[in-house]
Amino acid sequence: MTALPAEEARAIVARYPSPRSAILPLLWLGQRTAGHVTPEAVQDVAELLDLRVSEVESVLSFYTMFRRRPPARCRLEVCRSLACAMKGAEEIVEHVREATGVEPGGQSEDGQFSIAYVECVAACDHAPAYIFNERMGGPLTREAALALIRGEGVGRP
C-alpha cells in the first residue's frame, strides 16, 4: 500500500463480516489522507479487498461525495432542494457567479474556492443551507457566501 495509512485501513476492514463492505470507509480514508481520492488510493483499496480496480471505480462513481481532483481551499456547497430553493439559494449562487465568474460546479483558477449545488442536506430549518468545508450552516446570504469563499469565516447556526 502506498496511498492509505496501512494500520488504519486494516482496522477498517476488520470491522466488517465481508471485506468488500469497507470500500466506502476506505475511500473516505483516502480522501481524508490526500484531500481527494487518488488513483493510488483506488489501487490500494482494490488490492486490500482483493477486487479489480474497475470494481472499486464502479462503486466510487455511484456516490457524489468523492472528489477525483485536489480540492479548493474553501469549498462551498449550496443546497438547492425545495426549502432552500424557495428561500433563494439559486439567486445566491447566481450572485457569486456574477461576482467571480465561477460557474456552479466549478473552481477558481487559483484553487482558492469552489462552489457547487447539492441536493437536500437535511438542514431545511436553516434554509438556504450550505456545507462549507464539511461543516453545515445556514441561512446563507449573498454576503456570507462571498465571505466564505474568500476564507473569511462566518458564524454557524
Binding site: 470491522r15 466488517y16 463480516p17 465481508s18 468488500r20 463492505s21 469497507a22 470500500i23 466506502l24 470507509p25 475511500l27 473516505w28 479487498l49 464502479s58 462503486v59 455511484f62 456516490y63 457524489t64 461525495m65 468523492f66 438547492r80 432542494s81 425545495l82 426549502a83 430553493a85 424557495m86 428561500k87 433563494g88 439559486e90 439567486e91 447539492v118 441536493e119 437536500c120 442536506v121 437535511a122 438542514a123 431545511c124 430549518d125 436553516h126 434554509a127 456545507i131 464539511e134 461543516r135 453545515m136
Partner: protein, 430 residues
Amino acid sequence: MIRHILTDGMDEFDLTRLDVYRSRGGYEALAKALRTMSPDDVVNEVKVSNLRGRGGAGAGTHFKWSTLPNDGRPRYLILNGDESEPGSFSGRMLVQKNPHLIIEGALLAAYACKMARIFLYLRGEFHEGAEVMARAVGAAREAGLVGDRILGSDFSVEFVVHRGAGAYICGEETAIMESLEGKRGHPRTKPPFPTAAGLYGMPTVIQNVETVANLAPIVANGGAWFAGIGPAKSPGTKICSISGRVRRPGNYEIEMGTPLRELLEEHAGGLEPGHALKFILPAGASSALVLPSQLDTPLDFDSMTAIRSMLGSAGMLVCDDRDCAVHVAYLGARFYHHESCGKCTPCREGTGWTEKVLHRMEHGEGRPGDTKRLSDLCAGIGGRKCLCLLGDFSVTYLESALRAFREEFVAHEAGGPCPVAHAALEVSAR
C-alpha cells in the same frame, strides 16, 4: 401537544456526553433488560407498545421483528440514518444531540432479536453527526456498554458507524444493504424481504434511528405506558421537522394525534406576516399535498393516510401564496431526476422527462398539452412499476398538485412569465 420523550433534556444538557446521559437515567433501560428481562420479555414490551416505524412507512416494529426466521444464522440490525428526504431533518438532530439514546435503543433491539452486529448507516453529508456518533460509540465501548459481555452479562454485540457518500436512494431499505455490502446503491427485488435474506444474505432488520430511539423509554416505562400516548393504533410521539414559509422552522416533538394546525400555528409560529397558507407537503417532497381545509387532521399515520396523504417521516414543507405549484413541482422533479439510481426504466427515463417538461413550464417555455403530458408521465412512472418506490415518490406530489392546482399548470402552457408570484420575486427584491 409538545411532549419531550426523545428530545427530553436535549436542549438543556449536553447529552452527547456519556456521563451526562447516564446521570439522567441513560442506559438504565439497557441494564434493566439485561438483568431482569429475557430477550422475549423485551420483544413483548415492544409488542404491547404498538411502536410503528418512524422512517416513513409506519410498519409495526414488533411485526417486523416477528418475521425473523429462527434458523441460527447470524442476524443484523441496520439503523437507517441516511435521512435525505427534502424537508426531513429530525434524524440529523437526534444523531447530533442524543446519540446515546440511539445506541441504547439499538442495543435493546439487538438484545431482543439476538443480533450479531449493529450497523448505523449515516448519510455522507452528516460530517458532524458521524463524529458525534463515533465518539459516543467509543465512550460506550470503554464503559462496557458496547462490545463483549455488555454490563457483565452474556450479551455481546458490536456497533459499526458506517458513512454513505451522497445518494438519496441509499435510504431505501434494500439499497442501504447493497451500499453496506460495498456496492452501488441499487435496490433489490422484494421478496425476499430483508428479515428473510438481507445484509450478506442474512436475516436483517432495518430501522430508522428515530424508531430505535423509542426503545429505551419503552423498556424503562413499559410498553403499556407508550401505548397510552396518543391514538391507540399510532401511539407515541413524532419529531416533526417543519420548514418553508413558517416563522419558527425547526424540529418539534409532538404527541401523535396532535392536529396539524397546532403544529403549524402554535409551535412553528404560523406563517410569515402578510401571507396565507397555500399547501403543505407533510412528508417531504414525496408526499401528496395537504390543503388549508385539511389543517385539523391529526398527525398520526392513519389519519394522514385517510386524507390521501401521509405522515411519513413528518418532514413538513409549508408553502404560502408566493409559491407556485409548478415551481414546487419543478424543484421536486429536479431532485428526483438527480437522485434516480438509474436501475429501472420508468423511473430513470420518466424522472428526466418530467423534469424536462416542468423545466420549460417553469422557464416560460410551456407548450399546449404539457399539463396532460405530466398526467401521462405520472401514470407511466407510478403504480409500483419499479423495484423501489423512488419513482412513485417522484410523482406523488405532482399528481396531487395536478388535482388541486390544475389551473396553474394550464396557465404555464402559454409560456411567458410565471402567472403566480413566487419566491424568486421576493428574493430578488431584497
